[in-house]
Symmetry: C2
Subunit: 263 residues, 2 copies
């Protein structure tokens, strides 16, 4: 068996953010497997077969990739951002765990990438300067009560909070609810970042207050990374652009860990 499988992070969108190691994995592949828009980002070449699939079929896609590798193909499964963050890596290991024992002899590697929150933070300044967390707002794979419990814990403990998968046509209200919950813990003036399509031609970075963000929740989409500042997160005016957003490294006061919030 000479097949292999690499799960490759393409970064947020620009080729300038694809690591040389990820590029080498794409160059060595005989087969590219992934969600259509990510597969489209890999140029066609002789000897390369592309297998594009729909969104929301991650485990089937992962099993397909493992079958191809078991047949001797050099497979690259592609994800936007980092494959380990709300992307294909976990789906591949789920499929591996559930699949035939022979798959476990395959060489499987993961090539990390720039995940959306790092790209959004870099464009905004340094909003992740303190402790932070990443939560997927999708309730396709977990109950909404788990999302709100985690959000509540992160708000009470004063983490900066990055929201992945904030909103979609099938999940239109979750982001608004999450921001309303945030508003019961944090000041209305807390900076909130709506970072859309960072690194792509249609990039759009908005720095809002939490109060404005609650009202603007419906203007986000699946390409938006939403970042809620901690209590210490603040702005520095910038000439000719949105203000810098940054979180000081120092914390002087203890977060109040309750589920009641500040009121």
């Amino acid at each position: 068996m000479t097949g292999s499988l690499t799960i490759v992070g393409l970064g947020p969108g620009t080729a300038e953010w694809i690591t040389p190691a990820a590029q080498a994995a794409l160059d060595a592949a005989t087969d590219i497997v992934g969600y259509g828009p990510y597969v489209d980002r890999v140029p066609e070449r002789e000897g390369l077969t592309k297998h594009a699939s729909d969104n929301r079929v991650e485990v089937e896609r992962a099993s397909h990739a493992l079958r191809l590798a078991a047949e001797g193909r050099k497979v690259a499964v592609v994800s936007g951002g980092d494959p380990g963050v709300f992307a294909m890596a976990a789906a591949v290991f789920e499929a591996l765990e559930a699949g035939p024992a022979e798959w476990r002899a395959l060489p499987i590697t993961v090539e990390p990438g720039i995940t959306a929150m790092l790209a959004a933070a870099a464009k905004a300044g340094a909003p992740l300067g303190g402790d932070f967390c990443a939560i997927s707002l999708s309730d396709n794979l977990k109950p909404w009560e788990v999302v709100t419990a985690r959000l509540g814990a992160a708000l009470a403990a004063d983490f900066v909070i990055c929201l992945y998968n904030p909103i979609s046509k099938a999940r239109p209200w979750q982001l608004g609810k999450a921001l309303e919950l945030a508003a019961t813990h944090r000041d209305a003036a807390t900076p909130v970042l709506f970072a859309r399509a960072v690194g792509r031609p249609d990039e759009n970075l908005r720095v809002l207050t939490l109060a404005e963000a609650v009202a603007a929740a419906g203007t986000a989409d699946m390409a938006t990374l939403v970042m809620i500042g901690a209590s210490s997160t603040r702005l520095i005016a910038r000439e000719g652009g949105a203000p810098y957003v940054y979180t000081p490294r120092s914390v002087t006061k203890s977060p109040c860990v309750t589920s009641q919030g500040r009121t």
Copy 2:
């Protein structure tokens, strides 16, 4: 004024994980500013001046970089990993906020990088498959009670927890205490990752149980990223290496958000 300042993420250590955008920023710089070991990673060349400094002088280093940029130099401030994650970006904005108004006219950009937790996760499998958080265990910049409050909240809400700056000669006991706290919330068999120097020649990845990790806390160092699994994080045996560690994307039960833990 033609000077500029870019805060560049060098990734965890191998050149294969430096993005082309970060490399371009290094290539365009006239001055490299940073902690000695990171500055050493940038090759010497004609026209390039290197300014290496000691650890723990981040704001002085940032002010120095801003002064150089204000004098017209093209300055790259270098960080390992991602500059926005427990690294130099926040220090630069702290110095900018406290410094002379003219600094605010400087073009300041941040080039993201592969942060340690993404590299460690990639080497291990997909431990960040669910919601996760990143906490610096250093109590140089925040009270230890803030660290434990955040750890407690993250444990109760069942996040995967990434610990940066876990231990140093000046802070020998904090990691042990953190892992003991984790053991009051999570099963003794929960996978814990000690990922040291990922991407460097002396890379060393250890997959332990939480009980083993408590006993082994003293074997970590400042180059180690410690990752504590969620309740669902598990292992898949791998031929010829440490088992894969992965966290399934689905959550079926609600985390119990209390500060008492499971006992």
